[in-house]
């Protein structure tokens, strides 16, 4: 059996081809890995956006409860001691109500 002598050019070409293949495979793996990592991040962010939206809705609903007229009136009357305005204390825009005449 005779061992064939390889031409250095052939060896270099083969090595270059192998290197190219390696680069391609590495790049592909990196690309896939990065895509999956991005997938995780996007899924996580989408989940976060959804939760934030829900949180906003929750806070809006809580705000509606806190601004309920029953609660506000309770605070106004009991906490701040406010009372209903007397008839003469309400001013209507654009309505000419008779004023009390000042005595001379």
């Amino acid at each position: 059996m005779v061992n064939r002598k390889y031409d250095p050019k052939e060896i270099a070409l083969g090595a270059a081809f192998l290197l190219f293949l390696l680069v391609i495979v590495t790049f592909y793996i990196l690309y896939q890995s990065e895509a999956i990592q991005l997938g995780y991040r996007i899924a996580g962010l989408e989940d976060r956006v959804t939760r934030m939206k829900e949180e906003i809705k929750k806070l809006e609903t809580k705000k509606a409860g806190l601004l309920s007229l029953r609660r506000v009136e309770g605070i106004a009357r009991e906490g701040l001691g406010l009372t209903d305005p007397k008839p003469g204390q309400v001013l209507y825009e654009g309505v000419d109500l008779p004023r009390e005449k000042k005595r001379p």
Partner: protein
Amino acid sequence: MRGLFSNGMRPRALALAMILAVWFVAAFGRLVHFQILNHGRLKAEVLEQSQNDMEVLPKRGTIYDRNGKILARSLPAQSVFFSPLKSESASAQMEQVVRLKDLLGLSENELSRIRTRLQKRDPFIWIKRKIDPEAAGRIMDLNIKGIFLQEENKRSYPLETLAAHVLGGVGIDDNGLAGVELQYDRLLEGEKGRRLILRDARRRSYQIETLKEAVPGKDLFLTIDETIQYIAESELEKAIAVCGADWGTVVIADPKTGEVLAIANRPVYDPNNYPPAVPGEGVNRAIQHTFEPGSTFKIVTAAAAMELGQVGLGETYDCREGSISVGGTLVRDHKRMGILSFPEVFIESSNVGAIKIAQEIGERNLYQMIKTFHFGERTGIDLPGEEFGICRPLSSWRKSSLRIAIGYEISVTAVQVLRVMNVFATRGRLVRPSVSLDVEVRGISGAENQELPKVLSERTASELAEIFKRAVEEGTGLPARLEGFDIAGKTGTAQKFDEEIGRYSSAKHLASFVGFVPADDPVISMIVVLDEPKGLMQYGGQVAAPVFRDISARVLRYLRAAPKPKAETLVTAKMAKASRP
């Protein structure tokens, strides 16, 4: 060089070939085992591990008041379920569940239900639905085998009892069970979707594919005004606390469009905890409770007399007797009266006068007007469970049935009476009440309501509105009088039929007041009904009319309706020529 199959190598090569062949056969057999014999099961296991085909619950639509304030909204909530390991015994599984007893406040009944399901080897058992987020977090920290959380939606009513009977309530699966939640369930619920979640070996999701987009429910805007609703409820609550009525209802509407601005009922419930613990609390008294209206029904008698009976305003009726027999039943006035003109009969709310008017125009005309106003039929308000009321056909009227002229022997709902009062406010139109602001949803617009054919001539409606105005200025409705505004209204006090004694009780009354304000260009119309007020004051004019006045004052101020300027009173005085003796 020796060949591979030279004599010395052959046995070893054969042995290697055999080993390889056995390995290959074994590997092939294993592949057949995985890929063919157990393909279905193993594929299912892989898919279960790497993919989740999940049902996406649609978000139920939000319910707003007419100004965009939130009345009901669905928020995410966690539900706890148990997916037991098959290898564990039922008692071992139950021990896991019992660890949650205090945290979730599980009752003995609930534990018993779970135990039964475990004994049946049920693979999925709800432990507790829609728990608060703090409890959910603590459950996750416990890390109990087989206990999982699932996200669901929970209906939240931030204003608690406000407008409870209009909103209704939902069941555990967010399905409408009462009120607009039931009426507009299809609109609000939306459509379920599906999505595929791809997971890695560590169960982390890296891709979500939407197989079917969930369609969220549509939002619903109501005609209810949160502020007006609150005013109505707080004043009704006050009135019931004062007069001790068993129940009460207030309905406020825009008479021109039929849009209901408030429906207040007491007793009431919190829709966050639907169904109510006490069954009576869930009844919407405005539309689901019928009663004999008493004198508020005289508005129908008055309309029949003027429109069909050709009775003039100048006609008079002798009411000096103070009582009159109708088919053997004695009808009395609430006080001794004299000879009353047609308007005075209604201003003073004379029963004798109203019966005499009914006798004059005849039962046929009276019945015709009752049917013109559609008594005995639903008003068509877009709320479920509306009662028809009871209106017997003319053929089955008895001699005493003429008492319908004063609001007996007929059964109505509060909304039916208000709808008729709106006929006078709109000068002749019978508008359909509604609680949905969305025209497409409710089927008729406010403008269309205003273009409905008139059921009463404008002249009759105007003249009667004037009479009802006088009823408040100088008649039984005087306590409803409000400084700066003209109110048109009618009081009602009906004796209630007592089943125990088999006749009408002189101690049990149903007090009511129905009217609109301002009388000349109405902004709101309202009915107040109080059942069995206690104490000395039990008449509609005494207990219901003041509620009407107080609510009107606050609502008109809120709506920025200015009171009429007071008429300038010119005081003139002659200078006396001092000529003292």
